[in-house]
């Protein structure tokens, strides 16, 4: 119905973001060819102040490849890299004060870094590859999920933050890296089913009582931390059937999970071309956003009612069919579920699926990480929120379209 207005809006938003920023040269794309990333980017995060951009990549772990880096999002300068992981870095998390960085890796370790000097403070060794990691809100705990390995199913590990335990020790003693085993974990929780399911993202509940994970089989699992049990499993799309799977790229796998609206709801993206907003307590579906591409990542604008969705065809298939792989970043309206705009790929540079996205807390800076290793940072124009509000008005009020 709104096709006409949509087309207009698309052009409008894009022009605001791209043209103006291009004139000011504020938006920069920086490729990892020189000293950055050359491999798929797994996670991106802007810190709370919006002045540091942490990027992790799935590099093969060679000596020359920095896997975990910090950038200045505004100027696009490389600030530094955190060296120490010997395998692909799968996920990262920063605390509120931008002091401590935690990262999980395929070398089956989780490391805690000092942001100030780039040194590894602690290393936790596990038996299986670590898929995701997350700080709890009070910084006392962290959670990580491991892949199934050696007959064991996937597990969720909850560890205590050693910095808070002995903060004095670290300050006094030499800043050497201390290693710890998986046994030192406070809790390890098994999945109820041992079927090779992996969890892709982990989130703490607002009061750190529960842990949510989204998994590759299309379910969301809820774990109780105190009881050390899996409480619930929610199916993302009950109608998804294996028969409708025509190409490899469509699978029930869930890819990304983020909080909406002050930790009151959760948005989850799926390879099944959909993203949904769930209530945390009852796990009812509140909104669904359907697109034409398998989704890898999702982000919610902190102030405006905008959801950013990204993904695309796998690079191999896109190369075979020799056509555009639908790699644009889509903007949907949070409440009305309709698409209201998009950010096109930077021409002649980006040909790969979107893997990670992050808004700065004020919503002015928007970072995109691609499969090929590029990171694009966009600065939203001041009129962005106004335009979104104008679009909202169009959705609600009856207006006769002026014929051209």
């Amino acid at each position: 119905m709104f096709s006409k207005t949509l087309v207009k809006n698309t052009i409008f938003i894009v022009s605001v973001i791209q043209h103006k920023s291009a004139k000011k040269k504020k938006h920069k794309t920086f490729q990892g060819e020189i000293f950055g990333h050359n491999k798929p980017i797994s996670q991106l995060k802007l810190n709370r102040d919006g002045d540091l951009l942490f990027v992790s990549s799935l590099g093969a772990g060679g000596a020359t490849e920095p896997l975990l880096t910090v950038w200045d999002p505004l100027s696009g300068e490389w600030l530094g890299s955190f060296e120490g992981h010997s395998g692909a870095v799968t996920d990262l998390d920063v605390d509120l004060k931008s002091q401590y960085l935690i990262s999980s890796s395929n070398d089956s370790t989780v490391k805690i870094w000092d942001v100030n000097n780039g040194k590894a403070l602690y290393t936790f060794n596990f038996t299986a590859q670590c898929r995701t990691v997350s700080w709890s809100s009070d910084m006392r705990f962290f959670v990580t999920a491991t892949r199934p390995f050696g007959g064991k199913g996937a597990q969720i590990h909850i560890g205590e933050n050693p910095i808070l335990e002995g903060a004095d020790k670290v300050d006094e003693g030499d800043s050497k890296e201390t290693e710890r085993d998986a046994k030192s974990m406070k809790a390890t929780i098994d999945f109820n089913e041992n079927t090779g399911v992996q969890s892709t993202r982990v989130l703490w509940s607002p009061l750190d009582e529960q842990v949510f994970t989204c998994c590759t089989d299309g379910t969301i699992r809820v774990f109780d931390v105190t009881k050390q049990k899996e409480i619930k499993s929610v199916v993302f799309d009950p109608k998804f059937s294996e028969k409708s799977k025509l190409a490899d790229e469509i699978s029930p796998s869930l890819t990304d999970m983020k909080y909406v609206n002050n930790h009151s709801a959760v948005i989850i993206s799926s390879r099944n071309k959909e993203a949904k907003v769930f209530d945390i307590e009852k796990w009812d579906v509140i909104r669904t956003y359907s697109t034409d591409r398998p989704l890898n990542t999702v982000a919610v604008h902190p102030t405006a009612n905008v959801v950013a969705l990204g993904g695309g065809q796998q690079a191999q298939q896109a190369a075979l069919s020799d056509r555009e792989g639908l790699y644009e970043c889509l903007f949907h309206h949070l409440i009305f579920e309709e698409r209201i705009g998009l950010i096109p790929c930077v021409e002649k540079e980006v040909f790969s699926p979107l893997n990670a996205m992050s808004f700065s807390p004020d919503g002015n800076i928007f970072a995109l990480g691609y499969e090929q290793g590029q990171v694009c940072v966009y600065q939203m124009d001041d009129s962005f929120q106004n335009t979104v509000q104008q679009i909202e008005k169009r959705f609600i009020t009856e207006e006769e379209e002026e014929e051209l």
């Binding site: 096709s3 004060k97 006392r140 069919s321 002015n364």
Partner: protein
């Protein structure tokens, strides 16, 4: 008058269906029912009595007699011969009574004194064989009484039919009446010659041979017992079908009518795809989607065929192709309307007014039963399902064999379906004919389907021909061959008198004719050949409606000369060298595509008085792989009224195959929009649908469909097959991806009614403006508002639900945030839901020093402590060990410095930290 039994009657070729005959047939069925009883229960007089009374009751019902009396003018010279009826001693009683009844009824029906029915008795010997085996009987329509009576003496027709194939089952298979022809008699003679060697079959042969000779050219129907039983089920009571009911059912144009205040579903299309539930076999699914004013309605999904489908030219029927033949669908309930048996049919053509349908199986194939089907063409009446004419393989063989481009439709139709014509050869051995042997045109009468004057019109070296769309004129052009110059000839019909002959020169190797839609002009495109090379092209125009039909040739377009090697291109050259020509409907403009195939150029010409074409513009058009261009022309007088003229379409030779794993060829095209504004053409904008192979214009010109389809029968499907619907402004309305998507077609509409005089047109337009303009406008706005308000209400509901949710969440988050701050132990980091911006500014001192500070100092500054440079020095000394930066972390120190610059030194704007949410 039609009765219910008409629809059940399969044999339409034998008799003209009228009431009397139907009655008679039904009566005969009764006779046979009784006969069967006798065979089982032996002779019983009571039964015969009962039978008679039953029959008389049925016939004497007043309604039937009424209907009979209505049909007084029915042809009464009907003579019937009944064969295979036992009339021996055992049946004497019954036979006599049956004969009485028959005579009785026949007299009532035909009011003829002499009995019109003849019986052919069965011999006693044969009686023994067939005593209990009466399986059917033969019914023959005879021209006169003498002919019929001759059968009574000599023939045993039913017996012959039984013997002919050697097995009675063959008869059962055919079921239809047998029209005996010479060829068949020859076949049967051959069979009988083999039998002749056996002495005891001599009689049989004699009889059957005689029967063949006698039956030649007459209609014979055979009734099998199974069939008879089916007929018995027809109820005796006569039911009248109301006229209105009948009309409503068969209203083929229901989709154009406004009904009950709703708008008709005028924009329809059919999409052929495989449903998901049919995994194993490929089956058809029928799907019509209607949208008007942006509303989308799915009407129907129906299984129809596993082959392709097609619309009839006016859009009244949907044609589905099957192995056995063709099925027509139509009406609001998509009922099966007519069926045409034609094995392996693959081509179909209609006359413009849908009065005739032509089918063709162009490839020779064999049935499962081993029956061979040579390529033949049939002409049908789509209303009655009658087969009107047959073109055998001999007649159409050479054209099928040559199969030059545009071989189908083989017949071209004139105005109002009056005439149709076909190119032919005079060579005797027609199958081995070549291109140069084509030297004549067969012109047929549209009603009687016979050639005019029963002879072909000789036209040496004819290359192309076309009927005038308005007048009874036929134009054909020949190419130069040897010493003959190329010519354009216009002949008037039916006299075949040449109205105008124009020579085109000795180098015109390729010629085509194009009529303007009003029949005013005839354009001739000429390809000038030098040796084997096409040197240049030119266009000639005949103004047909003017006196003496003046002729004008364009200046030879050397600019667009083609450099193709003629020998390499061969037959394709016909299609590709002269890329495209099209008239704008009802105007004096035309457009051509020319130049290189890879970079085609478009030119528009306008005819100025008298006939000199003037070039309007010349421009380049985008190209990717498949060239599809739209042209929009704006009419000068009507505002906001866009009309499409023609779609120019070119496709690569290679057909693309879409599959999940195979490499698909890169195909796609751009939509380019051209506008005509004060004779300046400019691009609107460019849009693309990747992977699309097809493009279809809606007949109203409001929508365009681009589709990515796959060939019928492929077992894998790409992920991107589907179609997109665009508005004529170039906006994308919606998009559907369908897996296993084969075909899509717009439903055509009947042509506009053309008023002959311009005054009438003016009157009509005034009427429309005065009376109906406001009504239609109101209706449009109502529809638009309804549609809008629907969506607005949905959106408002969403908005409300979200707000209520948010309020709930706010309460919870306040509680949670308090707990969290307790847990966390520090409350300096804002936990408020609302945004808080803290700006820290410090004035720059005159002597500024750039210092590197660490995070701890920064936090202290942010907390509002006043820190001097001296303090920083002290702190740095304390933390010198921790501030030791690694070599790989070199830039980081500088970055932190920059970070501190903006905060500590206060470089104008100061440091702003935004906080939102918990983190």
């Amino acid at each position: 008058m039609r009765s219910k039994s008409v629809s059940c009657q399969p044999q339409k070729n034998v008799f003209k269906i009228d009431c009397t005959l139907l009655l008679f047939k039904k009566f005969l069925l009764y006779v046979f029912d009784i006969l069967r009883n006798f065979c089982k229960l032996n002779v019983c007089n009571k039964k015969a009595h009962e039978f008679r009374s039953l029959v008389l009751k049925a016939i004497d019902s007043p309604e039937r007699l009424e209907s009979m009396s209505l049909k007084k003018n029915v042809d009464r010279s009907l003579w019937l011969i009944l064969d295979g009826f036992p009339t021996n001693a055992d049946f004497n009683d019954v036979g006599g009574r049956v004969r009485q009844i028959v005579d009785d009824v026949c007299q009532r029906v035909s009011q003829n004194i002499q009995s019109p029915v003849f019986w052919i008795p069965i011999d006693n010997d044969e009686k023994k064989q067939h005593y209990h085996k009466i399986r059917g009987f033969a019914l023959i329509q005879a021209p006169n009484r003498e002919y019929a009576s001759s059968f009574e003496k000599k023939g045993r027709i039913f017996f012959f039919f039984k013997k002919r194939g050697g097995d009675i089952k063959n008869l059962e298979k055919e079921k239809e009446s047998v029209c005996v022809r010479r060829e068949k008699i020859k076949e049967i003679q051959q069979i009988n010659r083999q039998h002749k060697q056996n002495e005891h079959n001599k009689d049989v042969f004699r009889d059957s041979y005689w029967a063949h000779k006698a039956l030649e050219g007459y209609n014979v129907s055979c009734w099998m017992w199974n069939e008879v039983q089916e007929k018995m089920k027809i109820s005796d009571t006569f039911e009248k079908i109301g006229k209105n009911e009948f009309l409503e059912e068969r209203n083929l144009y229901w989709w154009l009518l406004d009904k009950d205040g709703k708008e008709g579903y005028r924009d329809q299309y059919v999409a052929r795809f495989r449903g998901q539930q049919f995994e194993e076999t490929i089956r058809g699914l029928f799907y019509v989607r209607v949208f008007d004013k942006m509303k989308i309605i799915i009407i129907i999904k129906k299984e129809m065929t596993s082959n392709h489908v097609q619309w009839s030219p006016k859009g009244s029927y949907l044609v589905s192709f099957h192995l056995q033949g063709i099925q027509l669908w139509g009406g609001p309930d998509w009922a099966k309307l007519q069926r045409f048996e034609h094995w392996f049919v693959d081509q179909i053509d209609w006359s413009p007014d849908e009065t005739r349908m032509i089918t063709c199986n162009s490839v020779e194939q064999t049935n499962k039963d081993g029956r061979r089907y040579l390529p033949t063409i049939y002409i049908w009446d789509p209303l009655t399902g009658e087969r009107l004419r047959e073109f055998t393989h001999d007649a159409i063989g050479p054209l099928l064999k040559l199969r030059r481009s545009g071989w189908w439709p083989m017949f071209k139709w004139g105005a109002k379906d009056k005439y149709f014509a076909q190119i032919a050869t005079s060579k005797k051995n027609k199958v081995t004919a070549k291109m140069k042997d084509i030297d004549r045109i067969n012109i047929f009468d549209g009603v009687e389907l016979t050639r005019l004057d029963k002879a072909a019109h000789s036209a040496p070296n004819v290359f192309d021909f076309a009927f005038s769309p308005t007048d009874d004129l036929l134009a054909y052009c020949s190419r130069a061959l040897g010493n003959d110059a190329a010519k354009v000839t216009i002949i008037s019909l039916p006299s075949k008198k040449a109205e105008r002959v124009q020579t085109l020169g000795f180098d015109a190797g390729i010629t085509h004719v194009y009529w303007q839609s009003e029949g005013k002009y005839l354009a001739v495109t000429i390809g000038h050949v030098e040796g084997k090379r096409l040197r240049k092209n030119s266009i000639g125009i005949l103004a047909v409606h003017q006196e003496n039909m003046p002729w004008q040739l364009t200046e030879s377009m050397m600019k667009f000369c083609f450099n193709f090697d003629f020998s390499q291109i061969k037959l394709l050259a016909v299609q590709y060298l002269l890329t495209f020509f099209a008239w704008e409907p009802d105007s004096n403009r035309f457009g051509i595509l020319h130049n290189d195939l890879d970079n085609p150029d478009v030119s528009f010409y306008q005819i100025k008085q008298p006939t000199n074409p003037v070039k309007l513009c010349y421009m380049f058009i985008y190209y990717i792989c498949v060239y599809i261009f739209f042209f929009f022309f704006k009419k000068k007088n009507n505002n906001n009224n866009w009309e499409h003229t023609k779609q120019l379409r070119y496709q690569k030779e290679k057909q693309t195959i879409y599959s999940g794993h195979q490499e698909a060829e890169d195909v796609g095209y751009n939509l380019c929009k051209l506008r005509f504004a004060s004779n300046n053409i400019y691009y609107g904008y460019k849009k693309s649908h990747e992977g699309a192979v097809e493009l279809h214009w809606c007949p109203s010109g409001r929508y365009v469909i681009t589709a990515a389809t796959q060939p019928i029968g492929t077992k894998t499907s790409g992920s991107d097959t589907g179609y997109t619907v665009w508005s004529c402004q170039g906006d994308q309305l919606f998009k559907h991806t369908i897996h296993y998507f084969f075909q899509i077609l717009w439903r055509p509409r009947p042509k506009e009614i053309r008023l002959e005089s311009k005054e009438d047109e003016k009157k009509c337009q005034e009427m429309l403006l005065k009376q109906y303009y406001n009504v239609f406008e109101q209706r449009d706005t109502e529809v638009r508002r309804q549609h809008q308000s629907k969506f607005v209400q949905i959106n408002l509901a969403k908005w409300a639900s979200w707000n209520s949710l948010q309020e709930q969440w706010k309460k919870k988050t306040k509680e949670i945030s308090k707990k969290r701050t307790k847990k966390r132990g520090f409350s300096s980091e804002g936990e408020e839901d609302d945004f808080e911006v803290t700006t820290v500014e410090q004035e720059r001192t005159e002597k500024s020093e750039e210092r590197v500070i660490n995070h701890a100092i920064l936090s202290r500054i942010l907390n509002g402590e006043k820190i001097t440079i001296g303090d920083i020095d002290e702190m740095e000394q304390q933390e010198s060990s921790t501030a030791d930066a690694g070599s790989n972390f070199g830039n980081y120190a500088a970055a932190l410095q920059r970070r501190s610059d903006s905060t500590y030194n206060g470089s104008g704007q100061g440091y702003t930290g935004h906080r939102a949410g918990f983190r």
